[in-house]
Amino acid sequence: MLQSKIPEGPLENKWRNYQLKSQLINPANKKKLNVIVVGSGLAGAGAAATLAELGYDVKCFCYQDSARRAHSVAAQGGINAAKNYQHDGDSVWRMFYDTLKGGDFRSREANVYRLAELSAPLIDHYVQQGVPFAREYGGVLVNRSFGGVQVQRTFYARGQTGQQLLLAAYSQLYKMKRAKKVELFPRHEMLDLVVINGKVKGIIVRDLVTGQLKRFAADAVVLATGGYSRVFRLSTLAIGCNGSAIWKAHKRGAFFAAPSFTQIHPTALPQTSDAQSKLTLMSESLRNDGRIWVPKKKGDSRKANDIPEEERDYYLERRYPSFGNLAPRDIASRAAKECIDAGYGVGRLKNAVYLDFKHAIENFGIETIKDRYGNLFKMYKKITGVDAYREPMQISPAAHFSMGGLWVDYELMTTIPGLYAIGECNFSDHGANRLGANSLLQASIDGYFVLPNTINNYLADALREDPVSTEHLEFEKAENEVAEHINKLMLVKGNKTVDHFHRELGKVMWQECAMSRNKEGLVKAISQIQKIKEAFWKEVNITGGYHEMNTELEKALRLADFIELGLLMCTDALEREESCGAHFREEYQTNEGEALRNDEGYSYVSAWEYDQGKFKLHKEALEFENVQPTVRSYK
């Protein structure tokens, strides 16, 4: 039975009630407690720095060469907060409701409310840390709109908000390193979790420079390893982003929730060839001023600027008049896919739609548009060679954010005692679809504000236990298993590259488990992925050695886990016989082609247990005490 540990009391008092009752640890004792944080993005760096400030002994690991490179760095558009600075009717309640509705009522009320409630103090925190958020001439902070919302609550630092927040967190991390409260391990990748007597006690990592396996023990382990959309291979994520840490945790007993809920972002640059390694994201903030359209005529090969106004279909404005170009991401992506599939796509491969700034430039002047999105236009030009001030951008949907992740309770603890999952790698707050600018928010809130207030509830008891040494038999066993796994991979000595198999996996996942899914396709995908798995373990070739820097080996280890995760994603998508948010099952749609949710049958969080290669479903019922789930309409 899954215990979500939602505190008693009315929604607005739950977090306070929780804090009043949670256990405390005195400063002298905190020093004796060790916490491992895996990942150094907003969630990981925020948590590691804050836990260190509180007095815990912290070790923080990341696979990159520096904590400053974690993929939070790439978030462009902004971070939401219910400050109501624009005096436009915003409030904690409205933000809570927008987020819950945006997620199509597949998340917990209490978690989402806490997210909205802590958003305002988070902006205070980041301003104090020196984040150069955009400001008015009067010196106050500026806001802009994001998708799925009718107020302006997004704070931003040009198109580099994620970078600025991450650098603040990274700086704070180094402040605590200097204070000798945090030890940092860049270029180290977690390859397994050590669980002793049902409690997490440490991790096994590989030093990516020497190839050496190392053991680290701790009283609690926090996973902050981000999203896993690289399972699609082509995604907006960094090339190194992976699902390995959470997958190993899953195989050691942590339940995996809503694995198939993946956000496909509507405004990425279209794919141009098979050799492509990633799809570059253009911030959703562009939809504030850019208008999305396709030609009314199928296969129209005229240049965009030659197509007259009356022959353009501004399909989002037409279909969703009240939200228009700012419809939520899942809806905007699916609408684009429908246009492209129906033959209205534009660009060389006919796989894109237009995002046009002509009207915005006419209305506000080119200088204003430059001020708002200058760096994004510059980036667009660098990659495509096209000047988007003169002709519209071409954009296309791309795999982006994982709403799914390890199942966590209200305390952000997984089903393994002492193991926490924070940020994108947990499932908690976004339901079946995440609203723009809520990602930086959730990662930061989890890391800075929630975890440092909940981990003590577990660690207070851990104080009474004897510390475990890395000489313990379970550490040895785990390390040996990792070594065997690596050896097995190295010894395959087939004739195909890791990337070959990743492309194969990506094609299946994109075809059957992305924007639109159906039973037949998912069943087929599962058997195809099983074949890819068999072939991978028979035919992959990894050159170079084990005990040296070997990027092929790193990729292979990550892909081996992605393949298994892909199976779980398809299994999950197959089980959920309804459409909700980003999960669109073709069998379940309204006459108008909108998602048809089934609250009677599927108002639960799917939490999957790993059982010797099979997946067992557990259900956490979602109870809505404050909000009546409605049909999500943006019309």
């Binding site: 925020g46 720095a49 804050t50 400030e53 990159q64 060469d65 520096s66 904590a67 400053r68 490179r69 993929h71 760095v73 790439a74 400050k83 205070d124 925190h125 301003v127 104090q128 840390q129 020196g130 150069p132 958020f133 955009a134 400001r135 008015e136 001439y137 010196g139 106050v140 630092a157 580099q160 970078q163 650098l167 700086s171 704070q172 180094y174 402040k175 200097r178 420079v209 960094a238 060839s273 050799a275 492509q276 390694s277 990633k278 570059t280 980036m379 660098k382 990659i383 504000f449 440092p452 004739n495 590259t497 990337d499 070739n541 050159t543 170079g544 040296e548 820097m549 990027t551 092929e552």
Partner: protein, 247 residues
């Protein structure tokens, strides 16, 4: 499209390296430079040879992890661009492309084209932060900042920490990197409390790490992917002088 990559290969920090040439076929102009290297690596795997180590992560010009010398220039032939943003359309069919790691004694080579830039993190550690604990912040709009000030701070804060400034500098100076961070924080009201301490300690660390001195040639700002201006260096020097003599 076909090119010849002449690439620096080096087993690890302690061994000697050398150039090796690879003829690579089946490239297209739309491929990014790193995708061309990916392709070369796939070819090497099918020939059962060791792949080339090079760095990247986000591949959209923001994480700062990529960075190599290409035909004698940091991040390749264009100004203000990262390696991952460079595309093969910038090269001629049949061209020989020389690829080297960043060269600076403060950035030791780890393997092939991979260098160790932890010296940058060490500079950050000496004060590139505001000493306030989580949970102690006043209301955000109680700190007013003039738009011109915050815009200027943002120009400096945009640094991605790639190291191109150091690699291209004839003195291997880290003055642009260090000054960008100092000016970001010292120009904002939040950073004022520790301004003097910050500039003194960070510049001291910069020297301890073995970076050279700045002779103001301006080479760095040409290669900086964020186009950070060398005016920052002048400003840092002024701040440092003031901190030293006035406090």
């Amino acid at each position: 499209m076909k090119v010849i990559f002449k690439i620096w290969r080096q087993e690890n920090t302690n061994t000697k390296g050398n150039f090796q040439s690879y003829e690579v076929d089946e490239l297209t102009e739309d491929m990014s430079f790193l995708e061309a290297l990916d392709h070369l690596n796939e070819v090497l795997v099918t020939k059962n040879e060791k792949t080339i180590a090079y760095e990247y992560d986000c591949r959209e010009g923001i994480c700062g992890q990529c960075g190599v010398f290409i035909n004698g220039r940091a991040h390749g032939p264009h100004d203000n661009m990262t390696t991952c943003q460079l595309h093969m359309r910038s090269f001629r069919d049949g061209e020989t492309i020389v690829v080297e790691p960043w060269r600076a004694s403060a950035f030791p080579i780890v393997k092939d084209l991979v260098v160790d830039r932890s010296s940058f993190d060490n500079i950050i550690e000496q004060g590139a932060y505001i000493s306030a604990k989580t949970g102690t912040a006043p209301e955000a709009n109680s700190i007013l900042v003039r738009k011109e000030i915050v815009d200027k701070a943002m120009d400096a804060a945009a640094c991605i920490g790639c190291g191109a400034c150091v690699a291209t500098c004839k003195n291997s100076s880290a003055a642009l990197f260090t000054s960008a961070k100092i000016n970001h924080l010292n120009s904002l009201p939040q950073g004022k409390q520790e301004a003097s301490k910050r500039v003194l300690e960070m510049t001291k660390q910069m020297e301890l790490e073995g970076f050279g001195s700045c002779t103001f040639t301006g080479a760095c700002e040409v290669e900086c992917p964020e186009g950070i201006s060398i005016i920052n260096i002048a400003e840092m020097n002024a701040r440092r002088t003031k901190a030293k003599w006035i406090g």
